[in-house]
C-alpha cells in the first residue's frame, strides 16, 4: 500500500531522515515509535506530500507522491486523511463546519446528505450534540475526536495519525486508541500512527516500526518488538535513556 524507499531529508546541516525504508500493508494499523525529535513527524509530512525529500521515494498505490504535483497530487491526497498533532481544527469554525469542511469543499453533495454524514461521523467518535461548539470550547481529547471525525468523513483509504494521544490522561489515551481501532474495523482504512505511548500502542497496532536517528531499526508485530533483542528498541520500551548504547561506547 505505502512503500517508503531510501528516504533522505536534511534541514540545513541537520540530517533528519537518513535512508528510511518501510512497507505499510493495506488494511493494517502500523505504528511508528521512536524518541521525540527523531523525525517521525517529518516522515509523516513526507507521506502526505507536505515536505519533499532530498532523495528517495514514497509509493502510494504504485504512485510516487514525491514526484506528483498539482491536481494529480490533490487526487492522491483525497485518499489520505491526516489527524494532526494538535488536531489542526479551524478555530474560526464550529465543530460541525470543521467536520463538514472536506465534504463542502471537495464533493457536490447536497446540504441534507452532508448534515447526515457529519452527524454520523460525530456519533462514531462519541461527540453527539457538540456540533455547534467552537474548538476553543472543547477539551484536548474532544478536539482529537473532532479531528478524527474530520479525517474519517471523506472515507479515505489511508489515515495518518500524528501523535493522536499526546498530552491526554491515561484513560483518554485508551479511549482514543479504542476509537481508532473501532473505526478502523468499521471503515477498513490503512492506518499509520506515530506515537510514543508505550505500551498502550502495542494493543492497537498490527505492526510496529521503530525509527531511531533517521532510520528504521526494527519492524515487527507488537510481540516481536516487545521481545526484541535490539538494544535500541529494548531501551526505548523500558524508558532507559541511551543507557546500553552509552555503556557500549564507553567500553
Amino acid at each position: 500500500m505505502i512503500e517508503i524507499r531510501e528516504l533522505y531529508k536534511a534541514f540545513g546541516k541537520q540530517e533528519v531522515l537518513k535512508g528510511v525504508n518501510l512497507f505499510i500493508n493495506e488494511g493494517e494499523v502500523t505504528a511508528i515509535i521512536g524518541r521525540s525529535g527523531g523525525g517521525k513527524s517529518v516522515l509523516l509530512k513526507h507521506i502526505v506530500g507536505l515536505l519533499k525529500p532530498d532523495r528517495g521515494s514514497i509509493l502510494i498505490k504504485g504512485k510516487d507522491i514525491t514526484e506528483l504535483k498539482g491536481s494529480k497530487l490533490d487526487q492522491l491526497r483525497a485518499e489520505i486523511g491526516v489527524v494532526f498533532q494538535g488536531g489542526a481544527l479551524f478555530d474560526s469554525m464550529t465543530v460541525y463546519e470543521n467536520v463538514a469542511f472536506p465534504l463542502r469543499e471537495k464533493t457536490k453533495l447536497d446540504k441534507g446528505t452532508i448534515y447526515e454524514s457529519v452527524l454520523n461521523a460525530l456519533k462514531d467518535v462519541g461527540l453527539k450534540g457538540m456540533e455547534y461548539k467552537y474548538p476553543a470550547e472543547l477539551s484536548g481529547g474532544m478536539r482529537k475526536r473532532v479531528a478524527l471525525a474530520r479525517a474519517l468523513i471523506g472515507k479515505p483509504k489511508i489515515i495518518l495519525f500524528d501523535e493522536p494521544t499526546t498530552g491526554l490522561d491515561p484513560i483518554l489515551v485508551r479511549s482514543i486508541h479504542k476509537l481508532i481501532r473501532d473505526t478502523q474495523k468499521q471503515y477498513g482504512f490503512t492506518g499509520l500512527i506515530i506515537s510514543h505511548e508505550i505500551p498502550e500502542i502495542f494493543e492497537i497496532s498490527d505492526r510496529v516500526a521503530m525509527l531511531h536517528e533517521g532510520k528504521i531499526v526494527e519492524v515487527g508485530t507488537p510481540e516481536e518488538i516487545q521481545k526484541s533483542e535490539n538494544i535500541i528498541v529494548k531501551n526505548f520500551i523500558m524508558g532507559i535513556e541511551n543507557g546500553g548504547l552509552n555503556e557500549e561506547r564507553k567500553s
Partner: protein, 256 residues
C-alpha cells in the same frame, strides 16, 4: 577583518533571499487570483473585516486630520493674507497625500496586523497544512481573499477619509475661524481637479496591494511559537508602514 565581510555578505544574501521569496509569493498570488474556484464568501468576509470594521478608525482620523489641517493652514495662509485658499489647501493635501497615506497606516495597524497574526497562528497550529492535505489550496483560500479585499477596500476607505476630512476642515474654518462657507467650497471646486482625485485613488489602490501582500507574506512565513507570530506581526506592521511612506514618495516624485 574577514568577519566583517562575512557579516555584511550574509546580511546582503539574506536580504536577497527574503526579497526573492516575497516576489515569488506575489507572482503566486496573481496566478491564483485568476484560477477558479473563486472564494467569494471568504472575499466578502475579508472585505467586511477590512472595510466595515475599519470605518470608525478611518472616520475619526479623517475628521481630525482635516480639522488640524484647517487650523495650521489658516495660520500659515493668514501670514500673507491668502485665507481664501484654505479650502483648496485642505482638500488637496488630503486628496493627494494625507488621505491615502494616513488611511493606509491606520488600516495596517488595525487590520494588517490582525491578518498577519491570524495566518501566523493558522500556520503554527498546522491549519495551513490541514488545508493542503485536504487538497484545498491555502494560497487561494486564505491569502488571495485578503489581497483582493485590500485592493477593493483601501480606495473606498480613502474616499471616506477624504470626505470626512474636508468636512472636518469646514467645521474648523467656517465655524471656528470665521471663513465664509462659500469661499471654502467654491475655491475648492476651482482648484481641485479630477486628476488629483485620480492620483489619490491610484495611490490607495497600490497601498492596498502592498499592505496585504506584506502582511499575508509575513503571516505565511512566520516563525514557530507565540514569539514567532508576535515577531511576524511586528515586522509586518513596521515594514508596511515604512513601505507605504517610501512608495508614496516614489509615486509622487517619479510616477504620478
Amino acid at each position: 577583518m574577514s568577519f566583517i565581510f562575512r557579516y555584511i555578505g550574509e546580511r546582503v544574501i539574506n536580504l536577497w533571499i527574503f526579497l526573492g521569496r516575497m516576489f515569488i509569493f506575489l507572482t503566486e498570488i496573481f496566478f491564483y487570483i485568476f484560477i477558479p474556484p473563486f472564494r467569494f464568501k471568504n472575499l466578502l468576509r475579508q472585505i467586511r473585516f477590512f472595510g466595515n470594521k475599519s470605518m470608525i478608525v478611518v472616520i475619526f482620523t479623517g475628521a481630525f486630520s482635516g480639522m488640524v489641517l484647517a487650523l495650521q493652514g489658516f495660520y500659515a495662509l493668514n501670514k500673507f493674507g491668502a485665507e481664501a485658499l484654505l479650502g483648496p489647501v485642505v482638500a488637496l493635501s488630503l486628496i493627494r497625500e494625507l488621505g491615502p497615506v494616513l488611511c493606509a497606516l491606520m488600516v495596517t495597524g488595525r487590520a494588517g496586523s490582525a491578518i498577519t497574526a491570524e495566518i501566523g497562528i493558522m500556520k503554527i497550529t498546522e491549519q495551513i497544512d490541514a488545508l493542503t492535505v485536504m487538497a484545498v489550496n491555502p494560497m487561494k483560500y486564505v491569502v488571495v481573499p485578503n489581497i483582493l479585499a485590500g485592493i477593493i477596500t483601501f480606495p473606498l476607505l480613502t474616499a471616506i477619509f477624504n470626505v470626512v476630512g474636508i468636512y472636518g476642515g469646514y467645521l474648523v474654518s467656517v465655524h471656528a475661524l470665521g471663513l465664509s462657507e462659500g469661499t471654502y467650497f467654491a475655491q475648492m471646486e476651482l482648484y481641485v481637479d479630477m486628476e488629483d482625485i485620480r492620483i489619490g485613488l491610484y495611490k490607495s489602490l497600490s497601498f492596498g496591494l502592498l499592505v496585504t501582500w506584506i502582511c499575508t507574506f509575513m503571516g505565511y512565513n512566520s516563525g514557530y511559537g507565540a514569539r514567532g507570530v508576535s515577531r511576524a506581526t511586528t515586522n509586518a506592521v513596521v515594514l508596511s508602514s515604512v513601505v507605504i511612506l517610501l512608495w508614496d514618495y516614489m509615486l509622487g516624485a517619479f510616477l504620478l
